[in-house]
């Protein structure tokens, strides 16, 4: 009997990588639901921390993990393609407030991206970091792939996107109160445009209307950024 050999095999098995990822996400989801869906305990954030914790403890490198977890990794493509379905459905809501939607999206969403880029530029960030930051307000799946397409880091984009979503969901109530933004549609739209999926989840807690407009804002922001960011990036 050679327990050492058995342990080595398990450590190198792709199912070890898949297993720790699924377990991390499962624990993250349980915690998130248990503590009343507070954005700080976002399941991806917890799952990510648990997975990285396991890798560091077991001494597995990212390259080994990446190879093993490839079967999950590859699914990102078709799932991203599938995002077109909810996007199409939400476009119908535009008719209810076309001007408001267009102006709030372009100016509000535009300022969110440009201000982040401006601050990062002042802080002395390099081109790759700026490319990564430009995707901060888009939903994770799209942000990651847009960032990689223009020379940024997909992984870093994913983390920045998560922090953006969590921060947005937390500061939103104070901002809405200060500026007297009391319309549910406006609150939802702002959350969707600025804090993507995390903001959208938050909006559904406000009301169905807020959630619908958040989903619309998130979708439009995703579409516009997926087209405009690579376009602008190609000039630099």
């Amino acid at each position: 009997m050679n327990l050492q050999a058995g342990w080595e095999t398990v450590l190198n098995s792709p199912w070890m990588m898949v297993g720790m990822t699924v377990a991390g996400f499962h624990i993250g989801s349980k915690l998130y639901n248990h503590f009343g869906k507070t954005p700080v305990l976002h399941p991806v954030l917890i799952g990510l921390a648990i997975t990285i914790g396991c890798l560091v403890t077991l001494g597995i490198s990212f390259q080994e993990y990446r190879q093993g977890a490839d079967m999950i990794y590859q699914l990102l493509g078709p799932v991203t393609v599938a995002l077109a379905v909810p996007m199409y459905t939400r476009l119908a809501y535009i008719r209810q407030a076309a001007t408001a939607v267009t102006v709030a999206l372009l100016i509000g969403g535009g300022l969110a991206v440009l201000s982040a880029l401006g601050f990062m530029w002042i802080a002395g960030a390099d081109a790759a970091m700026l490319a990564t930051t430009s995707t901060k307000s888009i939903t994770g799946a799209i942000a990651m792939q847009v960032s990689e397409g223009i020379g940024g880091s997909g992984a870093l984009a994913a983390v920045i996107v998560l922090v953006t979503g969590v921060a947005g969901a937390i500061v939103a109530p104070a901002i809405f109160k200060a500026l007297k933004i009391d319309s549910e549609a406006a609150q939802g739209f702002a959350l969707g445009v600025s804090a993507h999926a995390v903001g959208t989840a938050r909006s559904f807690e406000i009301s169905e209307t807020a959630g619908a407009f958040a989903a619309l804002g998130m979708s439009l922001m995703g579409i516009v950024c997926a087209i405009l960011i690579p376009l602008f990036a190609s000039f630099f």
Binding site: L76, A100, I107, M129, I160, V163, A167, V171
Partner: protein
């Protein structure tokens, strides 16, 4: 179900084809997503199986996001070099986005006839 999965794979491949052929700075999947969106807009409807397949996939979207995000462990320096500055930039720019988009939406939607 299987038919809808094939539709998604077909658009993924079409996206990859266009991305590579025109050397676009957009990922193949994003290309495929935009193409599918255009096709849906032209057709004017989504088939029920495609909607069901998409929704069942979205249940696992957060899980699927974890493996690519784990790459951040190799970029620890970029994150921790100036954690305070990075955090401040994110919070501040997100707050600006929330304030401006929310304020403009409320103003303009109230003036509009249908809102």
């Amino acid at each position: 179900m299987l038919h809808s999965v094939l539709v998604l794979i077909a658009f993924q491949l079409l996206g990859e084809f266009i991305q590579a052929s025109f050397d676009l700075p957009i990922h193949g999947a994003i290309c495929g997503m935009l193409l599918l969106l255009v096709v849906l807009i032209i057709r004017g409807r989504v088939s029920a199986p495609l909607r069901t397949t998409a929704n069942s996939l979205f249940q696992y979207l957060p899980l699927i996001l974890i493996p690519p995000s784990v790459g951040v462990m190799t970029q620890w320096q970029a994150l921790t070099a100036q954690p305070f500055a990075l955090g401040a930039v994110i919070v501040l720019s997100t707050a600006i986005g929330l304030a401006v988009s929310g304020f403009l939406f409320q103003r303009l939607a109230r003036k509009g006839p249908s809102a």
